[in-house]
Symmetry: C2
Subunit: 119 residues, 2 copies
């Protein structure tokens, strides 16, 4: 796990086919052969994509010599999620600002309404 770096993980995720393979594996373990069909790819082509994901630590492969089923690796994927979580504050702060603005607007409208009703 320590050997897997964010840069390698992000680089592996920068390809739509690799992300699609990962999404497929999220629904359950699959052998390389099982992955060739939905992606309409040859076995060597799928294997190439899997190798990049495996080297990045994003998937692991079973030991059964024939099928070597692939599954996504929770730990490294969590590392990526933890990184993005660090930036959650940025948009949450923006939402907070928007909420404050909306509340100020509401208060103004209420005040204005009172004035119109002569309160």
């Amino acid at each position: 796990m320590a050997a897997y770096h964010l840069s390698t993980m992000f680089a592996a995720l920068a390809d739509p086919t690799r992300r699609a393979i990962l999404a497929r594996l999220a629904t359950g373990e699959r052998s390389v052969t099982e992955l060739t069909e939905p992606f309409d790819m040859s076995l060597p082509a799928v294997s190439k994509y899997l190798r990049v994901l495996e080297r990045a630590g994003l998937i692991a492969r079973g030991r059964a010599a024939q099928s070597r089923p692939c599954r996504p690796e929770a730990g490294p994927l969590r590392k990526v999620a933890d990184w993005t979580d660090g930036y959650r504050a940025i948009w949450e702060q923006r939402c907070d600002r928007f909420d404050t603005y909306r509340q100020q607007l509401k208060a103004k409208e209420k005040k204005h309404g009172r004035k119109q009703r002569g309160e």
Copy 2:
């Protein structure tokens, strides 16, 4: 926003310096000049990193001709976080499995305890 793709964003994030610049901007807007100091880099070097982040939609730059301050862009960063959130189920499922196992273990221990006390 629609023009910013996950692949371009992940590729931009696959570099430690670009991530470090983004982390610096998360604490507040900075001009290119202000970014050269902590990174001990020349202005053209920082500009090059910023261009990649800007093209990926991860940062935006102000219009003030002299400083053009940089800030992180919440929308695209959220898109990356939403993607990783989709995989949260994988490790949460693992934790659930662990919880089930722990509960089963507790139930067993309870049962065993009762037997020992002759209940």
